[in-house]
Symmetry: C2
Subunit: 410 residues, 2 copies
């Protein structure tokens, strides 16, 4: 048997899992400070709930199968379609506006050679109900606040309005169903440049139309709606250097109907770490009527990567702060008591679980686990009501009275 | 299209999701205070990793399918087998003892009529490496500490040693492969009574053997190992009324090799809320050699249910503490500023997202969401630098100076 995980799936050993938890805890705290509440939906849904909601590509990449009861089921592919289902299913049970966050894994059978994962965490916030510019501005505010609280000081929020990219209303006779092709092409501006976009436009439109589309983009200015949102961002106290109107920002998804935005971290080039917008027609998939909605999703893996690059994780992210060693079976009781006292004051402390292990082995364990302090209680210490506190980073140690230990660790 | 979730799968709307998060946060904090570190493993594994590890019943209830790449895969069925894989796969990369906690969903195609779920959260702690009685005692200590921190004051930890139930070593000629049948029968003592157990024993053993088995159980006393563990529990300061030797505790799983225990909450009859034990041969499934291990799992859904029954959830578990209403579009700026100030001092506050909504509608929203306070800033308040603070539970309100608001809410 091969002892391995599936391609695109990952184990997170403690050192990684701790970092993930650190980011999740901060995001949750920020989301909740604005009144977003947690929602959980199942990993498996009826296939028909998810199928056809993400385009052909989505249907292809979705994990789908027949369960033991003969039902066609599919694994969660994103958190927006389940949200739309929840809004349709529970209707009046939900407070409106319904502000929810959702932090769960999704599964996509992506090509892993592109550095993509098949199981990855999504962190979404969405506000369902209001169509106000204030609800748009709040999503941008929460995105900015989240990134600041994670430690990012320099980032740029690129903002546009899908109305700007509705070429059916301009003088170049483009049909609504083809408009998304233009949007998808423009979305690649950064990646393939103006010429590349022009080439892609030419495969769907006449040369004249393609020229017109690119010309139109260059003359775009903020819509009235965007002007209102920008004015609100100012009122909300968002640093004005952290956002800007970006006429070429398009976002690939078809369901956006108004505001769209993406956040790029200065000096991190792997792509945007957050993106979203307004989608006023999505809940209509399941509900009898459309309910306006706006939201965004954080790219969790990119955030972790960027935080690593910028060294934004605290140095003392280890779980245990103090290892209480056991000098000998006879002196175990003293160690048990000291570990308990340290824990009582809220400091994570563990006792070494083999009373016969050599001190050297115990200290090596602390080192491997990144535990910064070790406590040693040998015969002398026991006799004098003292402990030896060893700082494992500096290698220094001192013997102190038991009742001094708490002050030293605090 | 039917807008519904699959049978045995659940949405957790905010009021439920908050409670779940509350419990997870407490468990994590307790686990980490003893040096247990987080581990995450994938939802999907190669089928061969999981298959055959949980008996025929497990193979039957496991969600298994062929993925898009033709691989046979299976959804996580528990967290112990993935732990054994991780220990085999990463070997020396892991600190030893390896103390990890894991809080993830598992999937089992259970009969939902029995009130069972097909997706449910498991919370496990395990210590891999040591075989010391201290490592056994610590798991029991963490279980007790967790339940106390959740608010349970009266519970009983029933403790036994599988050695006590090894009838192959007694004088009644039972073969090792049949011994587990006796264990499984004894495990049902509470549910089906002594006579029921006797009947079940008779289907595998002679009448004489069945009589002997029941007689042996009545004469059992703590093994030397258990005596050591009990002595350690005393040293660890565990309340002596909270645990006892239970010769009929058997636990159904075949892999236990030593200590076994279960925790029952006084006055909660749906079953044990935590159970575990020592399993020294499990990692040998994947690794070249057996590595001793001991651990336990918390029954998350039962804990939630018991906490509901005993009203152990804090009353102020709502996400938002203050709704800042918007009196009119002209007075929006004042509300934005107040909401921001409240948030800055660490109190979750949200602003109502429709500046045109009637005050009544805004207050109804606060009520629906369980928000305890509302702030109103009308023309008079704006002029006088005051706010009106409404206590939505009592219905009382008072108008105070802006700078008094923080003291009132704190």
């Amino acid at each position: 048997m091969n002892i391995q995980t599936l391609k695109g799936f990952r184990d997170f050993l403690p050192s990684e899992a701790r970092k993930r938890q650190y980011v999740i805890d901060i995001l949750r705290k920020v989301f909740e400070s604005y009144g977003f509440e947690p929602l959980e939906t199942p990993a498996l849904e009826y296939e028909e709930i998810l199928l056809g909601k993400y385009g052909d590509e989505g249907d292809k990449l979705m994990y789908r199968f027949t369960d033991n009861g003969g039902r066609r089921v599919a694994l969660r592919y994103d958190q927006t379609v389940p949200l739309a289902r929840v809004v349709a299913q529970y209707g009046n049970q939900l407070p409106m506006p319904f502000k929810r966050y959702q932090i769960q894994n999704v599964w996509r059978a992506e090509n892993t050679q592109k550095g993509r994962y098949r199981e990855f965490l999504q962190c979404d916030i969405d506000t369902v109900g209001p169509s106000s510019p204030m609800s748009d501005a709040e999503i941008i505010q929460v995105a900015a606040d989240s990134l600041r609280k994670l430690g990012f000081s320099k980032f740029k929020m690129l903002i546009n309005d899908r109305e700007n990219l509705d070429f059916t209303k301009k003088d170049i006779t483009i049909t609504p169903d083809k408009n998304i092709k233009a949007v998808i092409a423009i979305d690649k501006m950064k990646k393939i440049g103006k010429e590349g976009v022009f080439k892609e436009l030419e495969t769907y439109f006449s040369k004249e139309q393609a020229v017109s589309i690119l010309e139109i983009i260059q003359t775009l200015s903020p819509t009235n709606r965007l002007k209102e949102i920008f004015s609100l961002l100012e009122k909300l106290g968002i640093d004005q250097t952290s956002y800007e109107f970006s006429p070429t920002l398009a976002r690939g998804l078809s369901y956006y109907t108004g505001l769209i935005f993406e956040v790029e971290i200065d000096g991190y080039s792997a792509g945007s770490v957050c993106g979203g917008g307004r989608y006023d027609n999505l809940t209509g998939m399941f509900a009898k009527r459309d309910i306006p909605a706006v939201g965004c999703a954080f790219g969790f893996d990119r955030i972790i990567e960027a935080m690593e690059e910028f060294k934004l994780f605290p140095k003392d992210l280890q779980t245990t702060k103090v290892l209480v060693t056991i000098f000998s079976p006879q002196l175990k009781q003293q160690s048990i008591e000291i570990a308990s006292i340290i824990r009582t004051i809220g400091i994570n402390s563990e006792i070494y679980l083999d009373e016969n292990a050599k001190l050297e082995k115990q200290l090596k364990y602390a080192d491997q686990k990144g535990i910064p302090y070790a406590v040693i209680i040998g015969p002398d210490e026991a006799k004098n009501n003292t402990v030896t506190l060893k700082d494992l980073k500096s290698g220094t140690q001192k013997t102190i009275q038991n009742d001094q230990l708490i002050n030293e660790l605090d």
